[in-house]
């Protein structure tokens, strides 16, 4: 083993978290700065100060102001919130199912949420509910949460009796439910008008460009709260890593933890999907990278996922904005292009180390 690997593995948890936090801050500023127009850092600060109500003695470019405030800032904030929510959900579900290959998409949360939102959008217009109306801003996350929960509960129901989850059944159940959700989505899209057809890409490949302040303000508290709530399960997840019975004997109310994690993951992922469609692989790759680079202790993996997820999603978003400028790649394409090879590598690697039986 190389010297470098050993030091990374032995790094203290606060040191790792602070480093990730600093990296996130830097990338955050870059993401605000870079794009079709580049805004100097100083001007960015002035615009933000002005928006906060300070009187600023600085000549602000009006275009820059609009771009930063109305387009880039909500988009970057959305990337941070969703990146964090997806990867901490991934970390929590991997811990709960004691398997490093689980991610929110696998157990049906994402597709369940997506199909229910698409249904709402397509059929909502016939009862005068339009995607841009305020009531939809509340309705969409709620419906996404409902659909995500139902899909997850179905998968869990298929995969095992209470207290014991069969991994092969979980994956097969997830495949079945995901296929069904995909088919339902296709069916709904069949009824969609020309305009709504464009949504299909949006929901299945993910897109951060629709970020607006009202949508963000509705979703942010839910995403922040559910992500932080998931953090409280780090001790329980450590115990569950040894086995559900073992965790129970160590004083963990496993059934309660299970219900809590599934609920808050469905909430976080469902709301994320209602804002940006299905962004795959973030929830899989981030916790896994942290576990293999540093250590498996959930007291690290959980908070580090909360910082690493936004970091990865911001970088992916930068790529999606820059790669084919002035057009944009759907962010799901970027995360899948990076994520899928990483996933394959992890699979092969895990098999070599007998981590997966």
């Amino acid at each position: 083993m190389q010297a470098g690997t050993i030091t990374l593995k032995q790094a203290k948890i606060p040191v790792i978290l602070i480093s990730l936090g600093v990296a996130l801050g830097v990338v955050f500023l870059f993401a605000l700065r870079i794009g079709q127009v580049t805004i100097p850092i100083l001007e960015m600060a002035m615009i933000l100060l002005k928006k906060m109500g300070f009187s600023v003695q600085y000549e602000i470019n009006a275009v820059h102001e609009t771009v930063l405030w109305s387009i880039r800032l909500p988009r970057v904030l959305l990337a941070v919130l969703i990146g964090g929510a997806l990867s901490i959900s991934g970390a929590a579900l991997q811990g709960l199912f004691r398997n490093p290959l689980v991610e929110p998409g696998l157990i049906g949360v994402s597709s369940g949420a997506a199909v229910s939102v698409v249904t709402l959008v397509v059929f909502g217009s016939s009862i005068a509910l339009y995607p841009d109306s305020l009531s939809m801003k509340f309705l969409m996350p709620a419906v996404a949460f409902g659909g995500g929960s139902i899909a997850t509960l179905l998968v869990m129901r298929i995969s095992g009796r209470v207290g014991k989850t069969n991994m092969a059944m979980l994956i097969l159940g997830g495949v079945a439910i995901n296929t069904m959700c995909g088919a339902l989505m296709g069916l709904v899209i069949f009824f969609a008008n020309e305009n709504q057809l464009h949504m299909f890409t949006f929901w299945t490949l993910g897109d951060l460009s629709s970020a607006t302040w009202p949508a963000l303000l509705v979703a942010a508290p839910i995403l922040v709260l559910s992500s932080l709530w998931l953090l409280t399960y780090q001790h329980a997840l450590n115990a569950i890593a040894l086995g559900e019975a073992e965790a129970f004997h160590m004083g963990i109310d496993v059934e309660k933890v299970k219900r809590g994690i599934v609920f808050f993951c469905a909430l976080a992922v469902g709301v994320s999907v209602s804002l940006s469609g299905i962004i795959g692989f973030v929830g899989l790759v981030v916790p896994h990278l942290i576990r293999t680079t540093f250590q498996a202790d959930h007291r690290l993996v959980m908070p580090a996922s909360l910082l690493g997820g936004p970091l990865l999603l911001l970088l992916a978003d930068l790529v999606s904005r820059i790669a084919v400028a002035p057009a944009e790649l759907p962010i799901g394409v970027v995360t899948a292009l990076i994520g899928a090879p990483v996933f394959i590598f992890l699979l092969i690697h895990a098999r070599k180390r007998n981590v997966i039986s």
């Binding site: 004691r98 490093p100 001790h235 115990a239 004997h249 160590m250 202790d297």
Partner: protein
């Protein structure tokens, strides 16, 4: 003050797995449960450790019915070592042993306890080692350290440890080590109950023995009371000879090798 099970019965799909089993686990003593395969030992342990609750009968710890305990309170009076634990994530030895201390008192006490149990089980200095890279025996010692850590701290009430075949798949030195550690734990006002397959180890270490057969307790008592040729032959349906170690007077058994020449029906069951 002890852990007691009264009139435990368990039926699964109309088949009676346990029939009116009563037993006591007293603090300071090592209680061993032995019996042939399929006697219901593991079912009994699952009930005693509340992993299964489809039984009739009464379970109590230190005079209070287990139904009155919260999951967390139970973890303070009782820890359980399952037969095998499968881990998917590369935790370090220190992290695993420390998990046993999650609901326990101050960090200072925890450091002291961890140091003691890790030294005792011979896993001290392994703090940063990856659990997944350890051998079976080493993993078992780490798990034992975790289980000990959970109830190690001195309290004003007795604690209990339940072990499910703690030495299966270990070599004889490791087996002796595990059992002497368990005996050592008894001295701390801890009652230990273990399912043990090797009768000679039972004879060496156990204070009280329960022989279980077809879901029923067929014999209980101290070594010299139950370690007789007739009781063992009746329980295990196997001809044995009981001898005594000339130095320690501890009984040991040698099964008859001619089991096929002497059909089972000739054994007086």
């Amino acid at each position: 003050m002890m852990m007691t099970a009264r009139n435990i019965s368990l039926s699964v799909n109309g088949r009676k797995l346990l029939n009116d089993v009563s037993l006591d686990i007293a603090p300071g003593l090592f209680t061993a449960i032995a019996g042939p395969n399929g006697a219901g030992k593991t079912s009994l342990l699952k009930i005693l450790s509340n992993e299964s609750n489809q039984y009739s009968g009464e379970l109590s710890i230190n005079g209070t019915s287990v139904s009155q305990y919260s999951v967390t309170d139970l973890s303070k009076v009782r820890s359980v070592l399952p037969q095998s634990s499968h881990l998917q994530f590369p935790f370090t030895v220190q992290q695993i042993v420390a998990m046993g201390r999650h609901y326990q008192s101050s960090p200072g006490q925890t450091r002291k306890v961890l140091k003691e149990v890790m030294a005792l089980t011979g896993v001290q200095g392994w703090d940063e080692r990856n659990y997944l890279t350890l051998s079976g025996g080493e993993q078992q010692r780490v798990q034992l350290a975790r289980v000990l850590a959970q109830v190690w701290e001195e309290r004003d009430y007795p604690r209990y440890i339940l072990l499910d075949e703690p030495t299966s798949s270990l070599d004889i030195a490791q087996q002796q080590l595990i059992f002497s550690l368990v005996k050592h734990a008894c001295e701390r006002n801890i009652g230990v109950m273990a399912i043990v397959h090797d009768l000679n180890q039972v004879a060496q270490f156990a204070d009280t023995i329960y022989f279980l057969k077809s879901g029923t307790v067929v014999a209980r008592g101290k070594i010299n009371e139950v370690f007789t040729k007739s009781i063992i032959e009746e329980t295990f349906c196997c001809r044995v000879n009981v001898y005594h170690d000339p130095c320690t007077q501890c009984p040991y058994i040698v099964p008859d090798r001619n089991i096929f020449q002497s059909p089972l029906k000739t054994v007086n069951v």
